[in-house]
Symmetry: C3
Subunit: 678 residues, 3 copies
Amino acid sequence: MTPPPGIRFGTAYYWEYQRAPDLGRDLDLMARAKIDTIRMGESVWSTWEPRDGVFALDWMTPILDAAHERGMKVLLGTPTYAVPPWLQREHPELAVERADRRRIPWGARQEVDFTSPVFLRYAERVVRAVIGEHGGHPAVLGVQLDNEPGLHLIHNEPVFERFKTWLAQRYGDVERLNEEWGLTYWSHRLAGWEELWRPEGNTTPSYDLAWRTFQAELTTEFIAWQADLVRELVPGDRALTTCLAYQRPALHDVRLSEHLTVTSGNAYYLPQDALVHDDADAPAEISWFTTTPAGLFQAADRMYASRQDRFWVTETNATSIAGSQLNLPPYDGQLRQAAWALVARGAEMISYWHWHTLPYGAETYWGGILGHALEPGRVYDEVAALGAELDRAGDDLTGLTPDADVGFVYAHESKWALGFQPPLTLDGRSPDPDSYERVVAAFYQGAADAGRQAAFMAPAQFKRLPTIVVPALYCLSEGFAGELEAYVRDGGHLILTFRTGYADEEARARTEVAPGPLRALAGVRYLEYSTLLEPVPVRWPGGRDVARHWADGLEPEGAEPLAHYDHPHFGRWPAITRHRVGAGTVTYVGTLPGRRLMVELFRRDAPDSSRLVVADAPQVSVHSAVNVRGERLWFAHNWSGHESTVTITGPATEVTGRREALRPGPLRLAPYDVRVVK
Amino acid sequence: MTPPPGIRFGTAYYWEYQRAPDLGRDLDLMARAKIDTIRMGESVWSTWEPRDGVFALDWMTPILDAAHERGMKVLLGTPTYAVPPWLQREHPELAVERADRRRIPWGARQEVDFTSPVFLRYAERVVRAVIGEHGGHPAVLGVQLDNEPGLHLIHNEPVFERFKTWLAQRYGDVERLNEEWGLTYWSHRLAGWEELWRPEGNTTPSYDLAWRTFQAELTTEFIAWQADLVRELVPGDRALTTCLAYQRPALHDVRLSEHLTVTSGNAYYLPQDALVHDDADAPAEISWFTTTPAGLFQAADRMYASRQDRFWVTETNATSIAGSQLNLPPYDGQLRQAAWALVARGAEMISYWHWHTLPYGAETYWGGILGHALEPGRVYDEVAALGAELDRAGDDLTGLTPDADVGFVYAHESKWALGFQPPLTLDGRSPDPDSYERVVAAFYQGAADAGRQAAFMAPAQFKRLPTIVVPALYCLSEGFAGELEAYVRDGGHLILTFRTGYADEEARARTEVAPGPLRALAGVRYLEYSTLLEPVPVRWPGGRDVARHWADGLEPEGAEPLAHYDHPHFGRWPAITRHRVGAGTVTYVGTLPGRRLMVELFRRDAPDSSRLVVADAPQVSVHSAVNVRGERLWFAHNWSGHESTVTITGPATEVTGRREALRPGPLRLAPYDVRVVK
Amino acid sequence: MTPPPGIRFGTAYYWEYQRAPDLGRDLDLMARAKIDTIRMGESVWSTWEPRDGVFALDWMTPILDAAHERGMKVLLGTPTYAVPPWLQREHPELAVERADRRRIPWGARQEVDFTSPVFLRYAERVVRAVIGEHGGHPAVLGVQLDNEPGLHLIHNEPVFERFKTWLAQRYGDVERLNEEWGLTYWSHRLAGWEELWRPEGNTTPSYDLAWRTFQAELTTEFIAWQADLVRELVPGDRALTTCLAYQRPALHDVRLSEHLTVTSGNAYYLPQDALVHDDADAPAEISWFTTTPAGLFQAADRMYASRQDRFWVTETNATSIAGSQLNLPPYDGQLRQAAWALVARGAEMISYWHWHTLPYGAETYWGGILGHALEPGRVYDEVAALGAELDRAGDDLTGLTPDADVGFVYAHESKWALGFQPPLTLDGRSPDPDSYERVVAAFYQGAADAGRQAAFMAPAQFKRLPTIVVPALYCLSEGFAGELEAYVRDGGHLILTFRTGYADEEARARTEVAPGPLRALAGVRYLEYSTLLEPVPVRWPGGRDVARHWADGLEPEGAEPLAHYDHPHFGRWPAITRHRVGAGTVTYVGTLPGRRLMVELFRRDAPDSSRLVVADAPQVSVHSAVNVRGERLWFAHNWSGHESTVTITGPATEVTGRREALRPGPLRLAPYDVRVVK
C-alpha cells in the first residue's frame, strides 16, 4: 500500500465545547499552522442523542464542510465511551462494578459495562446514526472507534458468569482447573464451576492471569464489534482506528489492533526538566505519561509494535497535561523535539490534544494549543513553526520506517503476572505492581545510553534483529523458548534477565531448575535468588557499578561470567554471564544493573552499525529511519539546555531548518534543538 | 453598644462528666484563678433526655446557682450536636450518608443529618426543654447553639433532592445549567433535573462549587433556625452564639455569623517549639490547630472577621490538645503569650477547653486546666497568674479594637474551588487540597515578618485599609474587581497573586486574557503559567531569594517589573510587577515568594505607621489595639527561649506585670514573655 | 513429666500440594537431614471432604505409614481454618464481616465466622472424620487444632449480639456500664442493651478494650472446643496444640494455651543483614516476623511464656519468607544460628515451613527447604548439617530450660488499650498502633545489649526473677500493683516505665496522681508528661545519650534522680529515678532511653550472674539453659560477618561442632557462627 505523503499534522477540535465558537477563525488559525487533520465528535453522545432515540446530527456538517473547503481531513469518533445521563438513568445496572461489587459512580466517562447487550443495543443505534450520517463525507479520513478503551476491569455479575464459561471452554472441567491452578492449596478445590470465587478475594496467581486475559479480550471484542459495524457504514478507504492509552488495565494493544487499519495512541510526556537527559539511576516513568527522552522513544516504539507498522499519535501534549496542580508548559523547542522524535520512530500523524483549553470540566487544566483566552501565544507559535517545518520536509517523511538495532520482547501476560506477584519493591518492603515496566524501562534506557535503537515485539511478533532483549518474561512458553534458541544458533545476540522464564503460561513457578527451558541455552542455572535491599557493588574487567533490587544465584554451566558482585555473600555468584551457542551468544543478566554496566552490556551485545550522524555527548541522541524512497534520515536531538554537537561522517542534506547541504564535521545543536539530515 | 468591661476569662466546665464531682471545690478553684465564665451543657442530650420524651433538667440548677453566688456567668449550650442512643436507634435513617451512600457509624457525635424534619422535631423539643428551663437564670450570659457545626457534607437522598430544587431556583432550567456548567463536555448534558448525577463521581468543578455552597447554606440555615427558636425562650439581653471550628468543610463563617450576636470560635495551636519564631520557609499549618506565632494571630484575625467585630474564644489550649500520641503541654509562659495575642486581636473572652481532663472517652488526652488527677499543677498556676494579670489590667482591655495595616481578602468560594482543583502539589505530583490556605498563610506570614498587622475580610465585607492583599482569589466577580479598582484609584495599595481572578463565580477558567477583569488594573497579562517543581532563584534590586510552586508568565502592559526569575526559561518573565493607577498601586505577584522577598514586598507596599513600641529582633512581634477610652495598647511578644528587647519610643505605662510607668528606651522581654504597654 | 529426648527436627510436608509427588524420595531426603517430625493435613478440607458429606480420607495413610517406617513422627492438623468452596457457597452468611459490615471475600483462608453453630456443625464432622481415621496411627505425635487462629475481629451480627450478652454478664445493667465507661460523655448513655452502638464508629476506649477481650475469648473458646473434641478421638498420649501467630489481633496466647498440652508457634525473622547486630537506635520490628537478633530471642521468649514451658516452633524460615518482592535467603550459617537461638530459649521442636516451595498459590514465594525445582541446594545442605549437629548433641539438649535474669511483664490488655490510644507517633503526628510492642522491644533490646537474659510473663504468671521490667503496663490492676510492691520489699529490682499504671483495668486514665497505685512504691509522682518530637539529650554521672518520644514530668517523692534531660524546659525533671523500698529498688524510667542509657540501666538494676562463657564484643550474645540432667549449656552467637570471640572462664566441653573439651580462654567464632558449650 502506498503510504500517504509526508506527516499528518493535527489536533483534536471540540467546536461543541466552546461557548462562542468561531469556526472560521479556528480553522484559519489551524491552516496557518499547517494543521491538516482534525479529530472530532467522540465525547458527546448526549449532544448527538440528547434524549433516548432523539438525534441531533446536523451540527457537525458545517464543520466537515469548512474543513473540506480548506483541504483538511477529519478523524470522526463514535461517542460510545461517554454515555448520556438519560441512559445512565434508564439503566443504572450498566454501571461498571468494581471488585467489591460497588458501582463506579457516574460523573466522568467510561463508567459502563460495555459488554452488556443493553448497552450494545444503544451503542449500535447511535453509531449507526452518527457514522451513517457523516461517515461518507469527503473530509472524513477515518473513524475512531470508542476512545481509550479498557479503563476498568468489569466485575458485573454477567461478566463474571461469562468468565466461568470462558474457563470451561479453556479447561474443559473443574478437575483440570483444580490441577492447573493448584487448587488443592488452601482448600480451593472446586466441585463445579458454580463454586468459583469472585475476583475480589482471589489470591491465586493463575486465576488472576486468566481474569486479566479475559478482561483484555472483552475490550478487544468490543472494538472488533464496532469495527465490523462501522465498516458497513463507511466507504472502504476510510481508516478504522481507536485512540489507545497503553497503560489501561484491560488492554492488549497487539490483539486489539488486529481489528484496526492503523494504530492510534497517546504519547504524553512530562516536558521541562523531565524531558532533559540526566544520569540518574531511576529509569523512566512509563505510565499514562512518560519521563526522560528514552521514555518518550519507548512510548513511540510501543505504538509501532502494536501492528509492527507506522502509527498515528492521536494525542500528545500541546502544553501542560494532567491536573490543576501540575502545569508544565514545554520549554522553547521541546514541542518540536517531541514531534521529531515521534516521526523518527514511525509516527504518520502528530495530533495535539487539543485545540482550545476548556474553561470547564475535569480537564480544565489540560492545556490546548490555544489557552483559556483563545489567543495564539508561545505554544501556538511553536506549533505553527513546526507545522511549517514538517510541511517543508514534505516527501522526505513519507513512509518512514524506523531502524532498530535491538529488539525488546514485551508480553502483557508477564506484565499482568508480575503485577500480581511483583519482584521489586518500592521502599524495601511493599511490592511494586509496576515492576515489569520498571525492568523493561531500565534495559531500554541502557540501549538508549549505548546509542542503540530499539523495537518492541510481542512473542507472537518475533522477528530476528541482531540483538534481542527478553526482560522479565516471567510467563515463558516452551515454544517461544525454542524460537529463542533457534535465533541464537543462527547468530543472534540474546539478552535474558532475571525472572525471564521463571514461570510458565499459567504464571506458575516452573518446577524445573531455573531458568527452566532457557537453562541449556543460557548455560547457567540457579537454585536461589535474593532481593537486594541495598545496591551491591558490581565489577567487571575495566569497570565498576552497582547492582540493584535482585540477584539470581547464577551457577555457570558452560557460560562465562562477565561481571561479579563485590559482596561477602553474593560474591560467590556472577551477576552476568555470557554463553556462546552456535553462531550466537546468550547473555544472562541476574540483576538490575546500573547505567554504566548497562551501556557496557549493550555495547558488547548489540553490534554498532555505520552511521552518518554520530552523537558527541550523552545528552545527544541519534535515530534513523528510511523513507519510501529508500533514503535514510538521521534525527539528532540535543536533550539539554546547553549547546551540543553531532558529527556528520559524510555528505548530507538537512531536512529540518533551511534544508541546506552539510559538510562532514561537527554539526551544532542549539539548546533543546533537533536537526534532521539525510 | 457599650462593650463589657475587661476580658471574660473562662473554661468549659463538665460537672456531669465527673465520677465524684465536687462543685464547690471546682468553682472555688476557678474563682481563685479569676475565672468568671463557664461554658456548660452542650454535649449531653442523653443526660437531659435519657429516654424519648423523658427529661431530666434539674441537675444543672445547683451549678447555675453556685456560679451565680460567685458572680460567675454561664454560657449554656443546646445539646443538639450529640444525639442520644435512643434517637439513633429509633431513626437510623438520620445517620449522615457519605458520598458513597454509606452511613457514618454511630459512636462519636455529629453523625446526624440535621436538616431532617425528623431530627428537627426532636431537636426543637430538647432545646425548648433545656433552654426553657435554664435560659432565664440570672447567671446565664448567653446560649451556644449546637457546637462546631458543619463537620460533614451530607449526602442523604433528601438533601440531594433539595440540592436539585436549589439548583432549579438558581438556574431556572437545565438548559441554562448545561450551558453554565459546560455539560456538553463528556456527554453530561441533562434533559431534566432528575438526570443530575450524585456528587460521589462528580468531576465538574462548577458542580462541586455549587454543592459546597449549598452544604454551607444548610449549616447556616440550621443555626439560624436554632437562633430563632432560642430567641423566643430567653431574655433579650442574652447572647446567641455558637462555637465555630473554622476548618469545618460545610461552614461559611461569615454567612453563619450573621445570625449570631457574637462570634465564638476555637483557637487551638501547637505550643512548645511550634509556637516559637523560626525562619523556615514552610508557612504555618492552618487546620483545626495552627503552628507558628503568625498562625495563631491569623486564627484570631479570622475570628474577628466573621462579624468584623470582637469575638469570644470559646475553646483554646489549656495544655496538650489532640490525641494520645501528641502531648505537648506549653512551655512556661506560652499560655500567657497566647492569651495576650488573642486579646490583642480582639478577643473579648478567653475560655479554656476544659476544666478537668477526662478519664474516659475519645478526648482522654485532651488536657484540661486540671489533669487527670484533678490536682492544681503547673498549668493551673499559669492560668491563675494570667487570670490575675488580666484582672489587674481591667478596664484597659475594655472594647479593644485591633489595629490593621494590611487587609486580606478571604473567600470560601475560592477555597472550595481550589480544594477541587488545587494549584499546588504536596510532593511534586499529587494535588494539595489545602492550597488556598497555604497561599494565604504564606502572605500572612510575610506581613507578620514585615511587622505589619492584618485584618481579614470577605469580598462582601470589603473595607479600605491602606494595603489590601487578595491572595489566590480564584473565583473573582466582575463587581468585586470593580471595587478593587476604585480602591486603587483612590490611593490604595493592592497586592494580587497568582490565581487571583483566573476563574469566574462558577469556578470556570475565564476566557479573557488573564488576569481577566484585573488585567488593565494590574497592567500585566499572562497567556501561560507553570508549576515550579523546584525552587527557582529570584532577584530584585538589592536582594535575592527563591520563588516556589508557581510562575505566571507575566507580560507587563504598563506595569513595572520588580523582581525576576534567574532561570533560562522563566527568566523572560518578571516574578512581580507594580502598576501605578490613579493615586494607588497594584502589585502583582506571580509566584509564591520566599520570606525575604515577602518582607521586601510588604515593606514597600504597606506603609509603616508610627509606633510607640518597636521590635528589635525577628522573634519579637508588636501588635496594637485601641480600647473603649481611645487609648492604644501595644503588645510585645518574645516568641523565643532567649531574652529579647523592644524599644519604647515615648512615655508609656505597662499594662501587664507591675503596671508601672516606663521610660523611652529598650524594654526587656524574658524568654516566652509578653509585655503590654499603653 | 519426662521430657522427650533431644530436639525434634521437622518440617511441614504437603505431599498433596505436589503435582508429581515422590513420597519415598521426599522422606528419604528428610531422613538424610535428620528430620524426624512432619506436620501435615491442616490446609486441605476440600481434599478431605471434596463435597458436602463426602469424605476422602485414605490418601494420608501411605504417608503416615512411610513416616512410621522411618521412625518419623507426624503432627496432624485439623483442616478447619480453610473451608472448602462448597461450604462457602452453601452458607455465604459464614463469611466474616468487617467492622463496616462488608463480608471478607473468599479467596484466601480463615474467612469464616468460626463461632457460628452452622460452621461448628460442619467443622465437627470433618474433625471427627479426619482425626477419627488417623489420630490413632502410631506415627501421630499429636494434633494441631486449626491453624494460626484469631486473624480477624468478627463483626457478624450474631457475634455482636453475643457481645451484648457478655457485657450484661460482666456489668449487670446498663447503668453500671454508663458509669464505668463514662457514657455521659458525648451523649452516649444507654437506656438498654439494645442501644449499644456497633464497633465501627466506636470512640470509647473502654468499649474497645472489652471488644478486643471478647474477641480473643472467642478464639480461645473455639480452640478449647476443638481440644475437647479431639481429646475424645485420640489416645491420651497425643499432644494437642495449635500453631500460633503471635501478632493475630484476636489472640490471647496465654489464655488460649491453657487448653493445649504444648505451645506451638511461628518464629519468622528477616535474615541477611536484618539478623546482624547493629547499633541503630531503632528497636526490633516485632510483627509476624522479627528483625535483629534480639527480636528473634524475644519471639522465642514470648513462646516460652505462653505456658511458661518449653515449646514447639512449628514454623520458621527455611529460606525466604513473605511475598514475591522480598526474597531474602539466609546467609551461610544464619539458619543454624536461628535454630540454636530457639533451642537456647526452650524450643523442643524446630520445624521448617515448609518442605517444598509451591509453584502456585498465594505463597509461591514463601520458600521451602527445597526450592521450586525440588532439588537439594544450599538451604537443604545447611538444614541437613544442622540436623546432624542437633542429633549429635542429642541428650545434652533434653529438657533444656532457659535461664533468665530479667522478667518482662507483658499484658495483652495494655497492648490493646495502647493500640486504641497509642502514646507514640510514627512521624511526629500520627499515632503508632504498635506503640506497646515498640516500648517492650526497646527495653528487651536494652537487656540484651547489657548481656542479660529475659523471660516474659503475664501479670497472672508473675514470678520473682531478680529483676522485673514492667514496660508500658497501661492497664494496671491494684492487685498487681500490690504484688509488685511485695516483690520489691522482698528484695526485687523493679523497673517501671512511662505509661505503666496510668490507667485502670477499664483503660480509663486513673484519677489519682500518677503513677497511681505505684506512686508510693516508685517514690515519684507526675502531674504532666510530654511527647518529645525530637530526641532530647540526657545525661547521668559518667554518660550521655538521648531520650526519645516521651517525658514524664517526674517529681521525686523519696526517689533519687538517676539521669536528667539536658533541655531548658524538660531539664527541671529527672528522666529516671530510683527508689529503695525494703530490700529492693524501684527504677522509674519516664522516657524511652537510647541504647547506651538502657545498657547503663540494666547493668545497674539486673545483677550479673557468674558465667562460664563471656562475650567479648557487642555483636556476640551468650545465652544459657539447663538440661534435664542439670547441666548448664552456654550458647555463644556471633551475629556478624566478622570473626569474634568469647572467653571461656573454666573447663568446658563443646556441644556443637566436634564436641571436644575446651580450655579456658578465648574461643573463636567464625562469621555467623554459633558454638554451644557445657
